[in-house]
Symmetry: C2
Subunit: 770 residues, 2 copies
């Protein structure tokens, strides 16, 4: 400031001495004024500190604090990230991931875990680590293969099933392919009659008992895959007294009826293709329920609750046809007749008297180590808020779709994000955590142990979990299953992303969203359908144990195909060849999935306020309430329970979401503590639906709204704890104890919804009742 003053005085002096002409003086005057004005500007700008001035009392100056503190995400960054997703890279990663079988607990799986670690270190993530867990897995004995055979009256083998799937292309011809088996099956030899039980659901057994007087007790039940979880099929078979189970893929569910159009010519399942799969009940290592399988973990003496007591073996429709041909008994009604070229019979006897079946199972439970690989991009402003994205890495065999399509996409996303961070052009507001999970196929094991180990930190800090298991199992449309708070960011992202399907674009559906809305409309809600998920992938523990919002994303096939899953699911034929040459030539859909997943993640990580829409929560809750009441009103009344109480708490919840949204609109988002407070409430909402005691009979499932339903196939179950308890009563368990379970859990549901509504209230007013 002193310098400026001196200069001004110097100029005045000059004017005085030289006694210049008027014109000259005028020029000096103008120059003087301009110079003075500039000097003034400099003084005003720099010498007078804004926070010394009264006007600034209306605000706060924070020294050394990032300008990003109260800034929202940058749409240009979104563009850059999405543009960088490269299909060639995804193809290259998928090729690498599917070179060898990589079953959980094997060296090949461990090798890929290290591969992921090296990749993440190379692309510039801030922290990368591997977390090993010692868990109980299950393997068949390679020297003593599992099979099904038919014996005649003299115990002579008349038929024996192949123990491996046929090699159809060089792609499958690799060492280490595990033969078809069901994980955690009991071992042993079971001899007896076979009874065909359709899908092996409750109603199927009831039909056999009531209409056919067939009792499956002590027999081998023969069920097609589909409708309910295979683990529940075995549990129900046990409940009805069966001694063993054979599961098969029916051609109706895995072919288009043209048996010549199968792998390797098309994506349909060939006759020897067999769906492997776990039978575990619940999630996570059954020896350490609710705790991580770390070095000092206590191991339960019994895992009886979680694993079947009887043997179970899966077969393809080739073998299934051979068995069905030999069954005696009545022919089945139309609904039970499947797609094999043979008349389906109930069995309970063989065509040839004296014959019997024999299942031989050598599968045994074994201790193994499974690895998760974790990578972190540290958040710039809120490093202690974690947006977690993940995918499992283990596969039954090559797993080109399940799960390597997702892994390949995640590798590309991490490359794109990591390199933008490395370049200094971007760092997300919140931390982004990448998880490559082990042993998902055995029962969501790797991720469950991880969530259990870090449950305190994740419980307090995890913002959302975005899962992609298979990124792609068809090119018909994008699809999502998830909990309500993540509906909005996914819908928003898909509206900005170009449709990978040129035919759809030509039809005017230019974005991913357009096709999604057209193919899966949820008309009632004016948006695409987003189902509430069961427990089919790695999102389960985030929802069930932590109450973290979750969503599962993928590109899928036309539901009108009426298949159970993509046809090559869990078979040896889920190969790179199939993806590269048949299913997603050019990897366009994989690339689009990369863009969607990236943008959802960026939005969650970068938005100033978490992009959760609480009114989506009340919409879902109202829908669950209606659906529950319409199904169970009569039963509830018969136990003296008033469903209008449920409607009451749901209405109250709805009102609170509306008031919360109003409050957000007028909040001063320049105040970091206001931002913090709103985000804390948003983070707590899903958590508030946890009941620490868990669902009746399933204490490790703690979210009262969202869980798979058990036993009965009540899919998209509303209030799974209540529904299951009521279904048990309808199945004959009409005891005082069971009725009290219903009454108590109904009270818990009412209380929990009220509690959740309370967390949305103005924070210093939360405990005030209406």
């Amino acid at each position: 400031m002193e310098t400026y003053t001196y200069m001004a005085m110097d100029m005045e002096e000059k004017i005085f001495r030289r006694s210049p002409s008027n014109r000259y003086l005028y020029i000096i005057l103008v120059v003087g004024c301009i110079v003075s004005c500039v000097i003034g500007i400099l003084i005003g700008r720099f010498a007078i500190r804004p926070d010394d001035e009264p006007e600034v009392k209306d605000g706060l100056y924070l020294k050394g604090v990032s300008e990003f503190l109260v800034k929202d995400g940058d749409p240009e960054i979104a563009e850059v990230l999405m543009k960088n997703i490269n299909s060639d890279n995804i193809r290259k990663y998928l090729r690498k991931l599917t070179e060898k079988p990589h079953l959980a607990g094997t060296n090949e799986s461990h090798e890929l875990a290290r591969e992921l670690r090296d990749h993440w270190e190379a692309v510039g993530l801030d922290h990368v680590t591997m977390t090993p867990y010692k868990v109980l897995l299950s393997y068949p004995d390679p020297d003593d293969p599992n099979f099904v055979e038919l014996l005649d009256g003299n115990n002579v083998t008349q038929y024996r099933s192949n123990t491996t799937e046929k090699i159809l292309t060089p792609e499958e011809d690799k060492p280490g392919v595990v033969p078809p088996f069901n994980a955690y099956s009991a071992s042993g030899d079971i001899y007896g009659d076979i009874v065909y039980v359709n899908y092996g659901r409750v109603e199927d057994y009831q039909f056999l008992e009531n209409n056919k007087s067939i009792n499956v007790s002590g027999k081998i039940v023969f069920a097609r895959y589909g409708e309910i979880y295979r683990g529940d099929k075995v549990r129900l078979a046990e409940r009805w007294g069966a001694a063993g189970v054979i599961l098969f893929s029916d051609p109706n569910d895995v072919t288009n009826g043209d048996f010549s159009r199968v792998y390797p010519d098309d994506w349909w399942l060939p006759p020897s293709g067999t769906e492997r799969g776990t039978l575990l009940i619940g999630e996570g290592d059954p020896t350490t329920a609710d705790y991580p399988s770390i070095e000092t973990a206590y191991r339960e003496l019994s895992t009886d609750y979680f694993v079947p007591k009887i043997p179970c073996h899966p077969i393809g429709y080739g073998i299934a046809m051979d068995l069905m041909k030999n069954l005696g008994g009545d022919s089945v009604q139309d609904e039970w007749q499947g797609g094999m070229n043979v008349i389906y019979r109930f069995g309970d006897e063989f065509k040839v008297p004296g014959w019997k079946a024999h299942i031989k199972i050598s599968t045994s439970n074994q201790n193994a180590t499974t690895y998760n690989t974790i990578g972190v991009i540290r958040g710039s402003v809120e490093p202690d808020r974690y947006v977690i994205i993940g995918n499992h890495r283990d596969a039954w065999v090559f797993g080109a779709i399940d799960p390597s399509s997702g892994t390949a996409v995640m590798m590309e996303i991490s490359r794109v994000m990591g390199q933008l961070v490395k370049s200094g052009k971007w760092r997300p507001r919140r931390s982004i955590v990448f998880g490559s999970w082990g042993a998902e196929e055995y029962g969501i094991i790797g991720v469950t142990e991880w969530v259990e180990e870090y449950t305190k930190s994740l419980g307090a800090r995890a913002v959302a979990y975005v899962n992609v298991d298979y990124a792609f199992d068809g090119n018909f449309s994008f699809y999502a299953e998830g909990t309500p708070l993540l509906f909005s960011p996914v819908i928003k992202a898909t509206k900005t992303i170009r449709n990978p399907n040129e035919t759809e674009i030509a039809a005017g559906r230019t974005t991913v969203y357009d096709t999604w809305l057209a193919t899966f409309p949820a008309k009632k809600f004016g948006r695409p359908r987003i189902a509430l998920p069961g427990s089919g992938s790695d999102y389960a523990p985030f929802r069930d144990k932590l109450g973290v919002p979750i969503i599962d994303l993928w590109y899928t096939y036309d539901p009108d195909l009426n298949v159970l899953s993509y046809p090559l699911y869990h078979s040896v034929y889920d190969t790179f060849y199939m993806v590269d040459k048949i299913a997603d030539i050019g990897f366009k859909y994989h690339t689009t999935m990369g863009q969607i997943w990236t943008e959802v993640t960026r939005d969650l990580a970068d938005s100033l306020l978490l992009p959760f829409n609480v009114s989506d929560y009340s919409t879902v809750l109202n829908d669950l309430g209606e659906s529950f009441i319409s199904r169970f009103e009569r039963e509830m009344q018969s136990f003296g329970l008033d469903t209008s109480l449920l409607q009451g708490v749901i209405s109250n919840f709805t009102r609170e979401t509306e008031e919360f949204e109003k409050r957000i609109k007028t909040a001063n988002l320049q105040d970091p503590f206001v931002v913090r407070r709103i985000n804390d409430q948003l983070m707590q909402l899903d958590r508030a639906f946890l009941d620490p005691a868990g669902l009746p009979g399933r204490k490790l499932k703690r979210h009262i709204l969202f869980a798979d339903s058990t036993i009965d196939n009540y899919s998209g179950s509303s209030f799974p704890g209540l529904s299951d308890a009521l279904v048990e009563i309808s199945l004959g368990k009409n005891t005082t104890e069971q009725r009290e379970i219903v009454k108590k859990h109904f009270s818990v549901v009412l209380f929990t919804i009220q509690s959740a509504a309370g967390t949305l209230k103005d924070v210093s007013d939360f405990m005030y009742r209406r």
Copy 2:
């Protein structure tokens, strides 16, 4: 800006037209330069926004945001608050509170709840409400009083106990005094021999069995109060097969041996004075364990776990002497001989053969409503962080000390704080919540239901709970029991507060802290002793269910007096008269307690960083570890459990606290998100010690470090779950199941300590193992 430009042009025009002299021109030049400079200053100051300029990139300007955002508390406010605490007010409040008996669930108790509400509304709290809960309480039948009698061989009454305490001053002569009883006692008539069992502990029964061959099965056990919780005395009596229990206050524990110096002449217990008290096991309404007793609550069919199955009756030493006189059997050894002027005998027979005792109990469990009154001062910057302070309001009779001394002080604190807020001179950074709890005496019931009802919001937001049950039960020294994170704010506060004891000041101990340190030194730690509390007051659910740091404060008597509690505890003689005329003449100690409680609360509410000292946590944990290992090492080894693992996780925890403290020192506290992150970690630390499954056999106690120990009097129990399980084994329950419980819980303890250490790590690095 346009206006300024126009003015400058106007001036130029004037100069040009008038063709002025050099001198005149010179003046114009100077004026022009000055005006231009001022204009420039204005432009520079206001028109150019500071955040467009490079220099301010080093910071952030937040519009409309309070200057308090990153400011620490103001010591001057502390002074003002403490100075305003007024002893006359406290006396006045206490007089009002103790006019009538106000047993939980009665109209008088309800009336006081409304009194508190009106007070808080009047003194200016922002929100005030009352929360009613319908709970199970217990009352004797007023028309059918409880008694103990002695019958001769012909069933003729030879002695019957008085059913009420004597009226000794007009103060006790009020309607509504409940006769002495034990809440939740079973009702009925029990006849039989009496066995004196000393304190009724495990070792007392073992002594009787092993050394005296006395079996109490089917008999009435006669136990003095003390050493263990009265509810556990009855539970142990049940375990040993007793049919009924008589509890008495031994003169050794409630007098100074001079029976003439008792109430109303002194604070010692007169012969008819009787300690009432609950027998409930655990905390909260036993009909709604773990859930709030709201309208829609499910009520458990059985409360068997929580309430005794046998009758129990309390008596004073007057009646006890009459009973003891008539007992036969051997005289007891010295340790069992108490302070009554009679030779104590084991009993199991009467002096006169054929006599028997009869306990008659009409007490029954009854539904009643209990009210909490809640008042809130809304926080200015972080209204969603709650510093909760509280005190129960219900009393067995008048409760002048227990709890009204605390209530009176709380009323004064709320007046002082409320009025400062109303005056506009202060508003705490965080919200302050005042709780006046109901039905504490029955088993911490009112507060437990409240914590259960608002568990989601409190679990996420409560910062600390500061309890004062009785503010005062002696003038010897200040004392505290609490969990480690609140040691530091209490120690800090007491160092700033003048000693109310002039003799102590004269001896150079000028502050509350000085006397505390001198009278209760914890030499090992270089600070006053702060015990780890059991579950004796309303702090319990905050610790056990929420993992919130808690502390309990009061002024107490000299421990060398060797009394169980202040002598008039739970008797009709706990009156205003006693406090006003005998115990705290002038209410000096009450006033000091008001200052301490105020300052601790203000510090918690106003400090930028929560004033928690994590190294206090590691100090306590190390101490617990050492004490556990020194007691149980041999047993642990015998089950194959390696206590060095415990030492390992404790060392790791210690290291993490040190690193955390280092990180805080270099943190930029100008950044509100840095402040938030550190405070979140501090808030999460105690919560991280919760295990959702609860302690073995006590699933509602979820803090693995802090809980009362059961059965065995292992006070200040280290790792109560482990200790209890090991003690059960030593008591003969050496089953595989019990040993597995020990093994599993040991694993849980190791894991939980590791988890807690993990929450202190750098937040984007939390999942990295060493």
